[in-house]
Amino acid sequence: MSVASADNAASAGKAARVFIYLFLLLFALFYLVPLFIMVVNSLKPLAEINAGGMIALPQEWTLEPWLEAWATAQIGVEPTGLRPYFINSIAMAVPAVAISTVLGALNGYVLTKWHFRGATIIFGLLLFSCFIPFQIVLIPMARILGILDIAGTTGGLVLVHVVYGIGFSTLYFRNYYAVFPTELVRAAQIDGAGFFQIFWRIMLPSSGPIIAVCCIWQFTNIWNDFLFGASFAAGDAAPMTVALNNLVNSSTGERPYNVHFAGAIMAAAPTLLVYIVAGRYFVRGLMAGSVKG
């Protein structure tokens, strides 16, 4: 009896498993099709696309569209390709992510481990910045960038993104540190570690997962931002998103779709890369062993 029912359970589990895998596979395909089309079309000559073979594999494989998008496409006044703008975006995203993450970690540390009057209110106010629509701050921000004389520069964009990012990064770190054992901080205090020593030596090394989460979130947002880039850094300082838009919109005559596809992949690649590199830290529990359990 028990053997028979165990048998049934096993075979039912198998059927369910097959169904689950089919289901997941279907969705994976659904999400991968656009990427497939982008990749395939970025590797064919324009004539093949114009002939109507969007889905088909290239008959003649070529890297020409990639090279053109990267180095010679007409974007601004000069035919520079996307390269300088890619560098702009890196120069904007990396410092902005780093600064906003460190500031968020500091905020979280202070808000949870150094109780002071009004901490909850300050945290609440910081959270507001997560919900303020971008458009509202455009004009005041433009004014401030003007006063600081960094309007239209990458430095200005870094400032904008840091200010905008602090809300989210504080939220992440505050919630992470709220369950971080306070006894560790107390032990370090008795051991003689100061405010920043505790932060650098105890808190940050134990924050791997949340740093990864915060970096992925910030990087994706900052890299993909178009509005601030278009508003505050036109011309040579424009980030990749704005340049891609210019590439796709400004070409006259025949539209080089293969170059557009290649450019779009280039613009998307870094966020994908960050997720692949840092994503595994999402699930890694670095806190094991500090406290019983």
């Binding site: 054992p181 006894e183 560790l184 107390r186 032990a187 370090a188 205090q189 008795i190 051991d191 003689g192 570690a193 020593q197 030596r201 105890i202 090394p205 134990s206 670095l286 806190m287 094991a288 062993g289 500090s290 406290v291 019983k292």
Partner: protein
């Protein structure tokens, strides 16, 4: 003047006073245990000694130096936490020497101190591991190593054994006691476990509701508890505290206990003078289970053994002892007998009560009458 002076210390959160005028002098080399139920203020007091919480009023002095407002790291104390609080990102060795590093001790000295401590605690083979790879008992040792390496004036222990399983707890208890005897350090130790308090301490402060109920050696606390709370909190099974009356019969003082088959009388000898004023009044009669035995098992050195005939309620053989519960003065009263005492549930039995160990309490104030 003690080595560690806790001088009229209070702690308030807003208008609520959680710790009332605590006054304890700890001598050098003493092992003081703060014991009490949850929320009695014992951990708050420890944190105030450590400098992790502010002192609302009063003074805490270590070696005659006032510690109010002094940073924890400048008090020359070390603390072992309930959760061990090992830094998860550092190896055992780094955990142990972190405090020395923060105090600017050179690397060579740090390593030497670490080796000594590791040897003392037998954790040499763990030094390169991370806390996550250690068992509960090993983590406990590392946490103690981290405290020992600093060579502090005062060690503070905050329920260090409560996360260990029962067997390991007993082992570590013995080890802490050995360590104290070997090093002769001054220790303040917080626990809610009265057995830990009794076994480890040279003096105990029993705390309840933010008051120190009694401060004394384990024997004083056990034999002459200052009130009913201390009497019932310390000791397992708890002291029997029975409603009774103090009466004078044939010129001698007796404790009168109500029972189903008429009142029972137990004679008191060498009564303290204060007892006189309670004659004819309600009292609470306190007697420890081990002071009620079978006649053969009674303490030979006792001067006043009174016999009490009663019906046996329940017997609970516990291996080394047999616990016997009877109904007395409308309550359950526990007696502790030899394992092979001849007692049977439901049968009549002659209990031998060692009245030398009896304590009487005032029913109103609950304080011991003495």
């Amino acid at each position: 003047m003690g080595f560690l002076d806790i001088d009229n210390v209070t702690k308030s959160y807003g208008a609520v006073e959680v710790l009332h005028r605590v006054d304890i002098d700890v001598q050098e080399g003493e092992f003081l245990v703060l014991v009490g139920p949850s929320g009695c203020g014992k951990s708050t007091l420890l944190n105030m000694i450590a400098g992790l919480e502010d002192i609302t009023s009063g003074e805490i002095k270590i070696k005659d130096r006032v510690m109010n407002g002094v940073h924890p790291s400048k008090r020359n104390i070390a603390m072992v936490f309930q959760s061990y609080a090992l830094y998860p990102n550092m190896t055992v060795g780094q955990n142990i020497t972190f405090g020395l590093e923060m105090h600017g001790t050179p690397k060579a000295e740090r390593d030497k101190a670490m080796t000594e401590v590791a040897e003392l605690l037998q954790i040499e083979n763990l030094l390169t591991r991370k806390p996550g790879q250690l068992s509960g008992g090993q983590r406990q040792r590392v946490a103690m190593g981290r405290a020992l390496v600093r060579d502090p004036d005062v060690f503070l222990f905050d329920e260090p054994l409560s996360n260990l399983d029962a067997k390991l707890r007993v082992d570590m208890r013995t080890e802490i006691k050995k360590l104290h005897q070997k090093l002769g350090t001054t220790i303040v130790y917080v626990t809610h476990d009265q057995i830990e308090a009794m076994t480890l301490s040279t003096r105990i402060a029993v705390m309840y509701n933010g008051y120190v109920q009694q401060l004394g050696t384990p024997k004083e606390i056990y034999d002459t508890p200052s009130n009913i709370f201390v009497a019932t909190f310390m000791g397992s099974p708890a002291m029997n505290v029975l409603p009774a009356k103090l009466v004078e019969l044939n010129g001698a003082m007796h404790v009168e206990l109500a029972a189903e088959d008429g009142a029972k009388h137990l004679r008191i000898e060498n009564a303290p003078a204060m007892y006189k004023s309670y004659i004819g009044k309600e009292i609470r009669f306190g007697i420890r289970p081990e002071a009620i035995t079978d006649p053969e098992g009674a303490d030979r050195n006792a001067t006043n053994i009174q016999m009490l005939s009663n019906t046996v309620g329940v017997t609970e053989p516990a291996g080394a002892d047999t616990f016997v519960t009877m109904s007395l003065a409308g309550q359950d009263c526990v007696a502790r007998m030899r394992a092979d005492a001849d007692v049977h549930a439901g049968a009549a039995f002659e209990f031998a009560v060692n009245m030398d160990k009896a304590v009487l309490f005032d029913p109103e104030s609950e304080a011991r009458i003495a």
